[in-house]
Amino acid sequence: MKFKKKPRGVPQIPGASMSDIVFTLLLFFMVSTVIKKFTGLPVDIPEAYKVEKLATKTHTSYIWIDETETVSFDDIPVRSTSEIYDIARQKIERDVQLIVFLRVDRNSKMGVLNDVQQELRKAGALRIFYGTKSKPSAEY
């Protein structure tokens, strides 16, 4: 038995809509991108198993505390912890949904952190986040 061979042309992918697809992807990444605002301090944050993702970046301010107990609030160097109150006060007045994200070095002591927390409490910035890396899950 003999089959008739179909005449075959070279298969072609339509290229006209390619730029549309690319533009859609581009728009998605442009919208979802938050370009890093602050440089901060070099800190080595601790690890934890049960971590949560920070839901929003627009309402977040960052505080860095490094090993030498240097404190930086959104890149504003803080010399004494009482300055935290004024900065936090201003920020909470501008945005009530403020979340303060604390990047504290794993080798630092609780003393400074506690002072910072007391100032945040006074200023009414109550939602905080301890920045951690996530460890692969332990036995649950």
């Binding site: 290229g15 390619m18 730029s19 690319v22 533009f23 992807l25 581009l26 990444f29 442009m30 979802s32 991108t33 938050v34 370009i35 890093k36 601790p46 934890a48 198993y49 049960k50 971590v51 949560e52 993702k53 920070l54 970046k57 977040t60 994200f101 604390l102 504290v104 070095d105 794993r106 080798n107 630092s108 002591k109 609780m110 003393g111 952190l113 506690n114 927390q117 007391q118 945040l120 409490r121 006074k122 009414g124 109550l126 939602r127 905080i128 986040f129 301890y130 920045g131 951690t132 890396k133 996530s134 649950y140």
Partner: protein, 133 residues
């Protein structure tokens, strides 16, 4: 006088390189984007000056000393025991408030590890006590 009308040809913008430009921009944003890189432990601080009397049976005290040793209700414990102890206590009393107290020299690392254990035990009411000077 008669001026000859010039023939107008339609001006075309070349679109062949459009996709290339879009790709370049796309790659830039792909590289720059970090999705959900901020992770951590969520906590809400108590408002200033609010002191509520709490019945002592609803409080569980966790103390962490300068060396990072843990004391739960006057008994020394290991870090990896905390989760199970807290879980058990919460199962018995769902109004339980876990109070974490540190000193000024407690390593932050241990404090976070204890908070992590509490979160693993699904403790909702966590209070951070002011350290003794």
């Amino acid at each position: 006088m008669l001026v000859e009308k010039r023939k107008t040809t339609s001006a075309d913008i070349p679109t062949a390189s459009l996709a290339d430009m879009a790709f370049l921009l796309l790659i830039f944003f792909l590289v720059v984007t970090t999705i959900g890189s901020d992770k951590g432990i969520d906590l809400v601080l108590p408002p200033e000056g609010e002191v509520k009397p709490i019945p002592p049976q609803n409080i569980m005290n966790i103390l962490i000393n300068d060396n990072g040793n843990i004391l739960i209700d006057e008994e020394p414990r290991f870090l990896n025991q905390v989760r199970d102890i807290v879980k058990e206590r919460i199962a018995r009393n769902d109004k339980l408030i876990v109070s974490v107290k540190t000193t000024r020299y407690t390593p932050y690392r241990v404090f976070v590890a204890v908070l992590d254990q509490l979160k693993q035990a699904e403790a909702k009411k966590i209070s951070i006590a002011e350290p003794e000077k």
